[in-house]
């Protein structure tokens, strides 16, 4: 006689009830779920973007630009320091991953070492006996800088996307220098790509009035100035050029707010500085009244007005032939802040909501038909025990979905494939048990011992085959990317559940029935 302890039956029954209740919300429309009583309010399963529609963007932070940017700043700092300390030098510039400078007077070596070390404590300074000083960073120091840049980019990307009002975006760091952005429901990501593709470094510069028009056309900038192009091209494709001072009068980092608004019926962008920015802006505008200045965005001129009067309040407007949309976008970018480095879109996958629902419909129909076929044939092949098997198959689906929903895992198309394989393994477990029963009965065993032996023997096989597949799923999860992982998750969960449903639950159903019906022969 096989005994199954009562507490085990109760535990398994409770588990099954939990599984079904927890899985149910995933099959119901959201509106219905919201009306359910609180205790029934389970999480719904997350559908991947390939099933529900949406846009997936993989961005890369350009760490090389972080490096170039840092080295260029270092050059500027060195120039200022040397000037302040009246040190004579030549050949100041970026040399590979370092900033190098040659001293005119070898006696300055020690003084220079101290001065350079004062610029950035994180940098390594080497002064050669020939009088060449080099500033470099260790690998570790660069890594720290990159990490900081990526963290900051993540924050800026999040702010920019939040500003667009996208529902439930997922923005996470991915690998070393990447950012993964998932936007459910977005089927035209062009606007967001444009927003993310702009670094949005804003700066205010004075226009260099020493430069002649001929110099500007020839691209010759006076010392301390640079030639910049206008952001908007003329109808013939040419861009107006301007010479501005290299020195930043006020930086966009000092902006606290920016809004799109209208001035004389024209869309403009208003801005407000923080205390430091306001003071600097007041100084510059007071000293340079009636001179032109330029507002640069990513080193392109977006506006170059004359300073009519000192601006003391720390706020102003940018006019520059904006459309309502471009004014909106610029204000958004300025509010959200500048990216520390340009972002590059490495991968885009956008699925329209219709295709998503089409493929989920086709997939669901196919799986239901496949499942109905299996269910039917299990009954044809194993009669009552086939019905038991079908109960456990339904439980298996319920458990898989309940666990996925509980873990917050995402169901994707390859994930559905993993579920199918998990179901196949579950069917196989039942078939192994039932075929074994037939064999044992053929050997002349009566029902109870036959069932007992069959479960014991089949159990070994099932554990072996499930563990083998589980090992494969683990490796796929650990090493695979996106879709392969989705497959591994559902497969792993499906197999784990099948150990409970196809073995334990089937056993309880079969043994329970045997005790109740006391058959002379197995109905199989």
């Amino acid at each position: 006689m096989i005994q199954i302890q009562r507490w085990k039956i109760i535990v398994v029954a409770l588990l099954c009830v939990w599984g079904v209740l927890y899985a149910l919300p995933s099959f119901m429309p959201r509106a219905v779920v919201d009306q359910l009583p609180r205790w029934l309010h389970a999480d719904r399963i997350n559908l991947g973007l390939d099933l529900q529609g949406g846009s997936h963007l993989l961005l890369e932070v350009d760490t090389r630009a972080v490096k170039v940017d840092r080295l260029q700043n270092l050059v500027d700092d060195v120039r200022v320091t040397f000037r302040n300390q009246r040190l004579n030098y030549t050949d100041l510039g970026v040399d590979g991953d370092a900033v190098s400078v040659r001293l005119r007077d070898l006696n300055d070596r020690e003084k220079v070492g101290t001065a350079l070390r004062g610029i950035d404590p994180a940098a390594t300074v080497v002064v050669s006996p020939e009088g060449v000083a080099r500033l470099t960073y260790t690998e570790k120091a660069w890594e720290d800088r990159f990490t900081a840049a990526i963290q900051q980019s993540l924050e800026i990307v999040r702010r920019r996307i939040d500003e667009t009002g996208t529902r439930e975006p997922t923005i996470v760091r991915h690998g070393k220098d990447r950012i993964l952005v998932q936007l459910p429901g977005v089927d035209d990501p062009e606007r967001i790509k444009r927003l993310l593709g702009t670094t949005a470094k804003m700066s205010f510069h004075l226009v260099d009035i020493r430069a002649s028009q001929a110099d500007i056309e020839a691209g010759r900038a006076p010392a301390g100035s640079m030639i910049v192009e206008n952001d908007r091209a003329a109808p013939d494709g040419r861009r107006e050029r301007l010479a501005v001072l290299r020195r930043v009068a006020v930086s966009g980092e000092n902006l606290t707010d920016s809004q799109p608004t209208f001035n004389n019926g024209e869309p403009v962008v208003s801005f407000r500085f923080d205390a430091i920015g306001a003071r600097k802006f007041a100084e510059v505008t007071t000293e340079n009244t009636n001179k032109p200045f330029a507002i640069l965005l990513d080193n392109r001129v977006i506006s170059a007005p004359n300073i009519r009067e000192p601006i003391l309040g720390g706020s102003g407007i940018i006019t520059g032939g904006f459309t309502v949309q471009s004014a909106n976008e610029l204000a958004l970018l300025l509010r959200a802040g500048a990216l520390p480095a340009p972002l590059k879109v490495l991968e885009e996958r956008t699925v329209g909501p219709d295709l998503g629902s089409d493929s989920i419909r086709a997939g669901t129909v196919a799986i239901i038909i496949g499942y109905a076929l299996i269910a039917l044939l299990m009954v044809v092949g194993y009669g009552l025990f086939g019905i038991f098997a079908n109960v456990t198959l339904i439980l298996n689906i319920a458990f898989t979905i309940a666990i996925m929903a509980g873990l917050g895992a995402t169901l994707t198309l390859p994930g559905l494939a993993g579920m199918v394989l998990g179901l196949a393994m579950s069917v196989d477990a039942n078939v192994l048990i039932y075929e074994r029963m037939r064999e044992e009965e053929r050997l002349g065993r009566s029902p109870f011992p036959a069932v007992d032996v069959s479960f014991q023997r089949a159990y070994v096989t099932i554990v072996d085959s499930n563990l083998t597949t589980l090992i494969a799923a683990l490796f796929l999860y650990a090493l695979g990317s996106g879709p392969v992982r989705g497959f591994a998750v559902t497969l792993g969960i499906g197999i784990a559940c099948s150990m409970l449903t196809a073995v334990t639950v089937t056993r309880m159903l079969v043994v329970g029935w045997l005790k109740w019906a006391k058959p002379k022969q197995l109905p199989i």
Binding site: L58, E60, D188, E190, K193, V345, L346, E347, E348, R349, T350, V351, G352, D354, L355, S359, R361, A362, G363, A366, I369, G370, L373, L377, G381, G383, L413, P414, A417, G418, L421, A424, M425, V427, D428, V431, L432, E435, R438, E439, V460, T461, D464, S465, L467, T468, T469, I471, A472, A473, L474, F475, L476, A478, G480, P483, V484, F487, L491, P523
Partner: protein
């Protein structure tokens, strides 16, 4: 209640070794064809692996493919393939990998959108846009190969631990046979090989190994029961005893997969098609590749007999 149908009323007595040399030849031939085809013809990689752009649009009216082809062709984006899904208004546009890297590919999408907006008006529905830069494509291949290699090693280690190294080796050779011929099939037919198909290849490995484990398990059980039985006979007996299960399980999976091919829609087609072949190959390879190979690896059963003797001697 009615009497359940039994496909096999008694344990069959088939000698699976009778044709095993022929089957070895067939398997080797299939694998060779696959290798040669993959080497010569290569694979029709999808955007996932090859990089490039894939756009699926639904046009307001019946699409004029020739005109669309000319319009998009005029953009100078290199190799452009347009394909319709017969009867529907959906058109699949595939643009080859751009030489300018990721930025050039994003620009290409923008150009196509602009062109279609101009020629077809604003009512074009973008059902799917996939842009995969060269960097990501390369990584996907690398990750995929790495993941599959390690899972196969893991499977081999577990099988070696449970059933001995010969079963482990034979099992993995069978999996490799199934995976290789599946990939080969995609190379020969020129069907698109994308991430979903890779998922199918892994699924096939799962089904194949499951089959092999079931039979190996029975061999182990029988070896304890019939200590003097010749290894070849033992394998035959085990395959025969589990034949009912093999027919039922694999038959059911085959039917379910067939439903997927028929009703799963175009997105799932590659996956389902690969699976269909995989179920057949997986069933065949367990019986005609793994089992006889294990016999050869045990030096035609001699090693097996020796082990049994040693075991008997020590107890």
């Amino acid at each position: 209640m009615f009497r359940p149908v039994r496909l096999l009323s008694k344990v069959p007595k088939v000698d699976y070794f009778r044709f095993h040399k022929l089957c070895f030849a067939l398997s080797v031939a299939l694998c060779l064809i696959s290798v040669v085809s993959i080497a010569v013809r290569g694979l029709n990689y999808g955007v996932d692996f090859a990089g490039g752009v894939l756009i699926e649009v639904r046009t307001p009216g019946a699409p004029d493919l020739a005109k669309m082809r000319a319009d998009i062709g005029a953009l100078n984006l290199g190799d452009v393939v347009l394909q319709d899904f017969g009867g529907s208004n959906d058109v699949l546009i595939r643009i080859e990998r751009q030489t300018g890297g990721e930025d050039a590919e994003m620009a290409a999408v923008l150009k196509v959108r602009e062109t279609l907006a101009k020629t077809l008006g604003g009512n074009v529905e973008y059902r799917r846009v996939e842009v995969v830069g060269p960097k990501v494509g390369g990584e996907l291949i690398q990750d995929g190969i790495l993941a599959v290699t390690f899972s196969l090693t893991g499977i081999m280690a577990y099988m070696a631990f449970r059933f001995g190294w010969r079963a482990g080796t034979a099992g993995v050779v069978a999996i490799l046979h199934d995976c290789l011929t599946t990939v080969g099939l995609f190379s020969v037919t020129g069907l698109q090989f994308d991430l979903n198909v890779l998922a199918a290849v892994v699924t096939i490995a799962g089904i194949s190994i499951n089959d092999t484990v079931v039979i190996d398990d029975r061999i182990r059980e029988n070896a304890r029961k019939f200590k003097r039985m010749d290894f070849r006979e033992l394998i035959n007996l085990s395959v025969n005893q589990t034949m009912a299960r093999t027919v039922v399980t694999n038959g059911l999976v085959f039917l379910a997969t067939f439903a997927l091919v028929l009703f799963g829609g175009p997105v799932l087609f590659g996956f389902s098609f690969a699976m269909l072949w995989g179920v057949i190959a997986g069933t065949y390879s367990t019986i005609y590749v793994a089992a006889p190979l294990e016999w050869y690896l045990s030096n035609r059963g001699k090693a097996h007999a020796k082990e049994l003797q040693a075991e008997a001697g020590s107890t």
